[in-house]
Amino acid sequence: MSLRVHNDHNRFKEIIRGRIKQNLKEYIKKGEFISRQGNEKLTIPVPSVELPRFRFGGQSQGGVGQGQGKVGDGVGDPQPGEAAAGKAGSDAGDHSLEVDVSLEELADMLGEELELPRIEAKGKHSVKAERIRYSGVHQVGPEALRHFKHTFRNALRRQIMTGTYDPKNPCIVPIRDDFRYRSFRTIEKPESNAVIVYMMDVSGSMGEEQKEIVRIESFWIDAWLRRHYDGIESRYVIHDAMAKEVDRDTFFHTRESGGTMISSAYRLCAEIIEKDYPPQDWNIYPFHFSDGDNWSVDDTRLCIGVLRDRILPHVNQFSYGQVESPYGSGQFIKDLREHLQGHTAVALSEIKDKDAIYQSIKDFLAGGR
């Protein structure tokens, strides 16, 4: 049943969403959400929506209480509300409201705020998944699918009609004709799949802070892409002078040292795609994060080669994020810019610090590919 107050409640929730959007930048910077998934609820603090009024300052007033204790004893935190006498003074200065939102909602808000376009998936029509829905009732079927309620109802109706039903002894005996069975239909559902290949430079020059940035940014990218694809897979590649595929946990927590050969990662990425993800069926999103300090000019040339020949033709978009680090030269993004000019499927972004994550997400996803 719908109560009148639900309109007001929805209005309130709308206002809260507005507040969340206003402060989205702040929430995005925070790393604490990234252990969350899907429609799990996040509790986030929202600045008060209370109506302001002239009232007495927080703690200066005090009040009157009742009970035991000597002068100078603490009385605990007088709670607002029931403490009528202390009411005006006992509200804490700045209220913030704890609000539950799901990650999906948050991702949607992110999309609205950054004005991210909906992603146009490719291969949408080529892949069809078959699903079974139990949606009908049949007169024949296996016993395992017998529909008890329908069967009972039919039997009852028949007995009442034929006058064999005795309310004093309500015994219902179904006969063959009464039985009903659940029946299923197969439905074909176009499905689009996507894979994200995260690559990260874990060489000595990538510090904790840089990794934190990568972690947060990839979390939000993940959240946004998940809003568009039913089945999404993530693959993680780390590299220094060598590249290897790792699981998610390792990806975020390893600290290696040593040199940097970006080409190794790109080559591995290309292999992964070729092996597991035929481009006609998959939407492919490689993301690479590094501090932009590659080993040699030769290796950079190799990278460009791999990108141009083996990756770019197959993917929706290749994204490169360069995190600023005190050790890196930051040359790589310039090289990419120079050599890959004109490629629409490339998104490059420089991420200076945590505050820049917001803009960077936009850089990556504004293309809507």
């Binding site: 049943m1 109560l3 009148r4 107050v5 309109n7 007001d8 409640h9 929805n10 209005r11 309130f12 929730k13 709308e14 206002i15 929506v49 109506l51 302001p52 009024r53 002239f54 009232r55 007495f56 300052g57 927080g58 703690q59 200066s60 007033q61 005090g62 009040g63 009157v64 209480g65 009742q66 009970g67 035991q68 204790g69 000597k70 002068v71 100078g72 004893d73 603490g74 009385v75 605990g76 935190d77 007088p78 709670q79 029931e82 403490a83 009528a84 006498a85 202390g86 009411k87 005006a88 003074g89 200065g93 700045d94």
Partner: protein, 500 residues
Amino acid sequence: MPKALPVELVELQQRVEEVAQGYGLGIFRTSYEVLDFDEINMVASYTGFPVRYPHWKWGMEYERLSKGHEYGVSKIYELVINNDPCFAYLLESNSFVDQKIVMCHVTGHNDFFKNNYAFQHTNRKMIDEMANHAARIRRYMDWYGVDKVEEFIDKVLSIENLIDCQAPFIARQRDEKEKDDEMIGDGFEVVRLPSDKEYMERYVNPEEFLDEQKRKQQKKAKEAKRFPKEPMQDVLLFLLQNAPLTRWQRDVLEMLREEAYYFAPQAMTKIMNEGWATYWHSKLMTEKVMESSELIDFADRHSGVLQMAPGQLNPYKLGVELYRDIESRWNKGQFGPEWDDCSNMAEKRLWDKQLGLGREKIFQVRKIYTDVTFLDEFFTIDFCKQHGFFAYAYDKKRQEYVIESREFAKVKKKLLSSFTNLGQPVIHVVDGNYENRAELVLKHLHEGVDLDVQFGRATLKNVHAIWTRPVHLMTSVEDRPMMLSFDGQNFQEKLLTKQI
């Protein structure tokens, strides 16, 4: 939505009201409705009325109540509104004993609404009035847009406490016949007393007399310019009369002001009202209505109502204890000069004149007092000692509230000040044409407690939105007189040299 009242509750209502009337309670006809928890949460968010104008703040309250219910922290047993007939809501899931207590409690409130003087000017058809307000505001929302109307409502709600609670009982502005002192004149020329002889002029109109006349003239001219003539506590009324509002805005402001005045007496009599209802549910239950098998449940509920968390003031408890104290004192004759002058404690302890005036007295008290006067008169030193009251204050060093004193004078002062003007700062309009620039000056009558600056600013901004010209607030911050101003863009704080 409304379900017919089950037969057993109809019978119960008859019984309770019969018994109550036997004790001398005078009540409005009461209409009970049984609601499930979601419905009662809704009605409670609407402050007891089934229909209110659309606004998100009800939604916020609803969310708070629903969550409280969900987590089992709070539960609303009953709701009652001041209306004729009196409307009361019962929670469907209450046990039968609960419903008994609630009905007895509601009957107490009902009697209080009907008989306490603070309520005599309230609209007893408020339930219709509220629905009318809702319909009108909905219509404005249809015409002018939800956002626009809601935004204006937000602004008004932010200052809805700036009313003059005593206004219905006092004529603030008397239509005083201007004592048109002909001697003062129109201000262009000093009026002289007539004298025929020129040589008498010096004596009839001496220099001092003319100066005096001049001074009077200037004072009057100044007074005539002052706007408003007297400081006004009803800021809403001042805005209603003088702010540049459109017709729908004026109407909305007027409705919200009316609602604020309707609720004011309830805030003014919180202790008395809850105390009275508690006194009567306890009396009716224990003496007439309760079955002996229900005793344990009753005791459990009743002690729940009266429980005190450390450091908190429970209005139910304070109220009922005061009524009982009064009743016992008047029964024993512990009042009047003789009692006050007696300093022999032993004699006082055994004092009993067997007057039996207690019941009569508390009925009189519930008629003519409000919380402030009630506490002022009956919160005595004996009562304070007996019930272990203390005053607490915030200790900045320890970052917590600590017991400041158990001294009677201090406790009482704090108690009274926290109830004066409903525990809200007193704010007057002192000037509507400041510096001759149509700027509005509000003045906080500072009585030792500073305003919350953050909130003050935000509120001032809302006042500005209604007044549309710059607005100022005179107050004191840490003992320095200040003027806080908002001109539509920026806030400004200025130290005032003159103490306000």
